[in-house]
Symmetry: C2
Subunit: 414 residues, 2 copies
């Protein structure tokens, strides 16, 4: 089906979804989970063929592409979990009572149609649809071409779930045209699609931003810092800094640069370096770090701007909280930033002045995640400032309208 027709049908479907009851949406989500289990044979066969065809690709690529019975069960269960989350649609909060008697409230409503453009990770297909459906939005999906058959099999199951609950199957649009030109056309349909979410590497995000007339919600990269203040509890600092780097280095909320106040660097860094060495973490230090830690490689100018996603860490000694904040302002990606300190004034300044989706005092940046924040699920983590910042879940897929109730008020002539 061509993308224009897909988008037009999704728009029509979105009007039905916007007024669907919570119970009906939940029924659809549970029916989707069931349909995925029922069709698991077909999904896994389609996926096995695509995994075989991807034999020349990197291990990480093949891993992301691969569905197993356990992974598919996880996807089905995730749909059921979304059913149990509170529905943001229709919730209303008071805004103002005006002197002329008008009562103004704000009501949360769906965005309409959300397009998700992602790489060859078929698990994303159902996750994205679950969040879109619960928040009353139609979804248009465009996954990587290497997973087109897996995705088609999953999408068929999802539509079966929609039908079972009496919701329009066009609520899930699936772009099966592997041509890049189809995406380009999709990104021009700003009268039909309300939001586009690229989920993938920086190159994908950049390409979407360049080509899209539709507003974009995206995660650029995760370049997170942990700052060990002069008044830090050094035992706590060691624990937090180790976790932020080494527990899972390949994710966006892992730390890439450690900033240490000069007053504690001599005491803190040697023990920390031994801990990192045991975990296989390579350090790259500023001059002062290298005076304290002999044999550490020098960090180059590009290191401070590099998201390693690996067991590598840049280390810089700073003379003050201000220097730490300025370094983060210059090099941070606005995802998550942390201060470790016992000084409440230093903490308050850091939390106020550092500009990021999440700022931490005495806790690992690794908590930056929809599940850890209690959102139940996430569509991704936004590093932008407009609309939704930090972990994005159901609320980020809605907006608020003003609801004005009167008794016949009219505006006076000037």
């Amino acid at each position: 089906m061509n993308v224009e027709r897909l988008a037009r049908e999704a728009k029509e479907a979105s009007r039905v979804l916007a007024k669907a009851s919570t119970a009906r949406k939940n029924r659809a989500l549970r029916a989707m989970g069931k349909a995925l289990r029922r069709r698991s044979g077909a999904v896994l066969r389609a996926n096995a063929a695509e995994v075989a065809a991807a034999s020349g690709r990197s291990a990480a690529f093949v891993d992301r592409l691969t569905l197993t019975p356990a992974r598919l069960e996880g996807v089905a269960r995730a749909l059921e979990d979304v059913a149990s989350l509170p529905d943001p649609v229709g919730t209303t909060r008071p805004f103002a009572r005006r002197p002329n008697g008008l009562v103004i409230d704000r009501m949360r409503v769906p965005l309409g149609v959300v397009a998700v453009i992602y790489e060859s990770r078929p698990g994303v297909t159902a996750d994205a649809v679950g969040l879109c459906l619960k928040s009353g939005n139609a979804a248009i999906l465009r996954g990587g071409k290497e997973a087109v058959r897996s995705n088609a099999a999953i999408a068929a199951a999802l539509r079966e779930g929609l039908k079972a609950a009496g919701l329009p199957p066009a609520s899930v649009g699936f772009v099966d045209d592997p041509d890049r030109a189809a995406v380009k056309r999709l990104l021009r349909l700003d009268s039909l699609i309300d939001l586009v979410i690229p989920r993938g590497g920086p190159a994908l995000t950049r390409a979407v931003r360049e080509e899209s007339l539709i507003p974009v919600l995206a995660h650029d990269k995760g370049l997170c810092h942990t700052y060990i203040d002069a008044k830090a509890d050094l035992a706590m600092a060691g624990k937090v800094a180790f976790n932020a780097k080494a527990e899972r280095p390949g994710v966006c909320n892992a730390m890439e640069t450690l900033l240490v106040h000069r007053a504690v660097a001599g005491r803190f860094l040697p023990a920390m370096a031994r801990q990192y060495a045991k975990a296989g973490v390579e350090l790259r230090g500023c001059q002062e770090t290298r005076r304290i830690l002999k044999g550490v490689k020098a960090a180059t100018a590009t290191d401070w701007d590099t998201e390693y996603l690996d067991l590598i860490l840049s280390v810089k000694v700073v003379g003050s909280l201000d220097e730490a904040v300025a370094h983060i302002a210059r090099h941070g990606s606005g995802l998550a930033e942390c201060i470790v300190t016992k000084d409440p004034k230093a903490a308050a300044r850091f939390l106020r002045e550092v500009d990021a989706g999440a700022v931490y005092h005495n806790a690992s940046t690794r908590f930056t995640d929809g599940g850890e924040f209690g959102l139940g699920a996430e569509m991704g983590i936004s590093t932008q400032k407009l609309h939704a910042r930090g972990p994005v879940a159901l609320e980020g897929l809605t907006c608020e309208k003003f609801v004005v109730s009167g008794t016949g008020q009219v505006r006076a002539s000037r």
Copy 2:
């Protein structure tokens, strides 16, 4: 100055503004008002020269370009009014307490740098700066080339106000290069500028959307409907429908299409038509309207999509609330929509199902305005769904970050 340097300096200034106290920002706003009064001679002379040069342009164009002593005093007073509004920056609300003891709040913070691109209306210059400054943002201004000298004189006064309060003059960047290429370059600076707001006609907005890599906040057009339900109080309906069309037809929140339920059309339309005729409103009706109102011109297909901004009104008879809602979904611009009815169920359905920035029950759409909503001022009215919808004032120029406070929590290994 070239736009790249302007934007870089504005970004630096925005870091100072983000942590400036409310008192200091208010001092700057009041000093700006004073400086505008002190320099009013220079501003009015620059403006008089530009008004003279625009002698061939339309009366509306010249009116928008013209500053008078009274208008300039209004601009100065508006800056002082913004000083008296509450400061959204730094306000914090609780978000979650997690089982692991993490306490998560959301803190409101400035966006950073806001670019405003507008037509030859020098009054906008100070309005935009006032709202940006109060919300802790640096502003980059690009007005129409016919007002470049007026704007430069105003910008000089505004910078004097900043200096008087000890804030960086680069907080107000002013693009004086009249070349369109300068705007194109500006719109690519997404690493320095956080938001762009076009203020002008649909052509300007479209051009900005096409060219911008920076997120855009805009008002597309205002095509507002008023729906007179079968159970409307017809006296109230007449008052509301008259006000929405005739009080000030040239503005975006005026009604362009009147929808009337068939059950009341025969009683409602004749009296309404007489009232409109007295005010010089031309009607364009559907077939059924024309059977009730003899001699009314037929509405064509394009009429339902036309923002007249004039004393012209499309009138359509509908058979049900659903038909009214469907008509609005197809033709409305998402600015403001109204139902007049005594039936609370019909009202609730309309308010829930109609997708617009503001939905009204028994009141004129003409109230859609920052001042009328109690926001104190407005940057414009957003017809988009992302980030800010409806009248946009201080809150729309900020975003929320997550603030996470712990006691050394780290994330458990999976």
